[in-house]
Amino acid sequence: MPVKIIEVEHLRARYNGIRVLDDITFSISGGDYIGLVGPNGSGKTTLIKNILGILRPESGRIVLFGQDRSEFRDWFRVGYLPQRLSSFNPGFPSTVEEIVALGLISRRRMPGFDGDAHRIAVEKALTLLNIADIRRKKIGELSGGQQQRVLIARAVIHEPDLIILDEPATALDPETREQFYGMLTQLNRQKNGTIILVTHDIGSIGQYANKLLLVDRRVVFYGSFTDFCASADMTDLFGMHSQHVICHRHE
């Protein structure tokens, strides 16, 4: 039986004083590739931030890798790409290399993860995201797509078991987007990595993820694509043709 990576039980959460999540219950197993979809303001990002402890839930229980979230300390097992930088300053002087290396902080105190291993990991991440040639550039000098690749590199550099990406493909050009989705699929299949992808790109999600979590303040649907395609019409929630597009691309 696959190991449970995330368990969420009866989660209620508010954002800016307004309740945006109500009685959310689901669990995610190791190796799952989840597409987290929902209309604007449905609580997707709030859900992610509650799981990661950035926001505190109103009530309910969150378990990460078998540990209650409040006691969870193994952050090196988690990679995260925020929807947008919370306090991004375009004049920030750090170079691409420096920012990518920040992803290694959670691994720093582990044996064998300093010196050479650190340098090799940075090199690998820069090459993987095709940003080695801009390593000495300041983050503010890059285009939106390049910045996004830097942040993705920071999220995956420490080879986490669980990767949570909040709308990662928004600023990427079609070619980089394909490469990026390919990289996630590789992480999922070859290393059994668990991936949660928050996205509006419903056309692509059916191609890559193996499960769909539809949220609109509560869990509307959670399961396989086959079940989703056989389920009732969701036009009201996700707009005309959305369900059809997801199912068509999945096939």
């Binding site: 995260y80 920030f92 002087p93 920040l102």
Partner: protein, 281 residues
């Protein structure tokens, strides 16, 4: 009299030693403060410092001893206001700073008005710094720099992206608290160098000068430190040579270095843009 002759004097030696240490401290902390868009925290806490000095003078207690705890509490107050009262950082700084200066004015008037002592704290006089103050400046500066060095990676991560830092397992609340406390200590120490009115200049100017030239976070810290130290040393000697107020001279020297850095970057950017424009034609 040559500059080397001045070095024989104890008061010059003390001014240089404490000035260099405090400059290093301000420059490093200034980079963090400016990047976190908290540039005016120095100004806000300086106003509180004014209240503390007025209280110390009124109670006839050495002002540094009164000011340090008051500024520490105020700095944590700013943090609490932003966290609990859902107040933006600049608004919280404004509230604490106004209370500080209002309290200072009332205390100063109760104690018989603005006297020479209070004015010397407002405008600073590093040349009058005592041996004890020099030792205290060196110890506290070394301590603060040590803490900043120890938490270098964590501080860089939080400064760039606090949410990501939290998911990396960094205790962001604790580090934020430490940073605010260190800023409070720095503001109190800087009071002796440039005076209450110019504290924020020594925090902001070296940092913004560094951002004109540096590539990378480490580079910014290094250039900021170099700028601050050069400004303090040059400012002390220029003020002696031209018989000018030392604190103000240090700040204007710093501003002069900023203008040079800005012009250099401007010229460099123009030179870089030129070939591209020609190609377009």
């Amino acid at each position: 009299m040559g500059f080397t002759d001045y070095l024989q004097y104890g008061f010059i030696q003390r001014a240089l030693i404490s000035g260099v240490f405090i400059a290093l401290l301000c420059s490093v902390l200034g980079v963090l403060i400016v990047l976190r868009r908290l540039s005016l925290i120095g100004d806000g806490l300086a106003h509180v410092t004014f209240g503390g000095v007025a209280l110390g003078l009124a109670l006839r207690i050495y002002p540094l001893y009164v000011t340090l705890p008051i500024v520490l509490v105020s700095s944590l107050g700013i943090l609490k206001l932003t966290e609990k009262a859902r107040m933006m950082g600049d608004a919280a700084i404004g509230v604490v700073s106004s209370v500080g200066i209002a309290g200072g004015v009332i205390l100063a008037s109760l104690a018989g008005g603005f006297n020479v002592d209070l004015f010397s704290y407002l405008f600073g006089n590093i040349l009058a710094i005592s041996r004890e103050e020099t030792i205290l400046s060196v110890i506290l500066s070394a301590f603060v720099l040590g803490v900043l060095l120890f938490y270098y990676d964590e501080i860089l991560s939080i400064t760039f992206d606090e949410e990501f830092a939290r998911v990396s397992g960094i205790p962001t609340d604790r580090i934020n608290k430490i940073l605010v406390i260190l800023t409070a200590v720095t503001v109190v120490l800087t009071m002796n160098v440039v005076g209450i009115l110019l504290i924020s200049a020594l925090l902001i100017l070296p940092a913004v000068t560094a951002f004109q030239l540096a590539r990378g976070f480490r580079g910014s810290l290094a250039i900021s430190a170099l700028t601050a130290v050069a400004s303090v040393i040059a400012g002390i000697f220029i003020s002696i040579a031209l018989n000018l107020p030392t604190g103000a001279t240090i700040v204007l020297t710093n501003f002069f270095l900023f203008v040079l850095a800005f012009l250099y970057r401007f010229a460099k950017d123009r030179a870089g843009a030129q070939p591209r424009q020609q190609v377009r034609r």
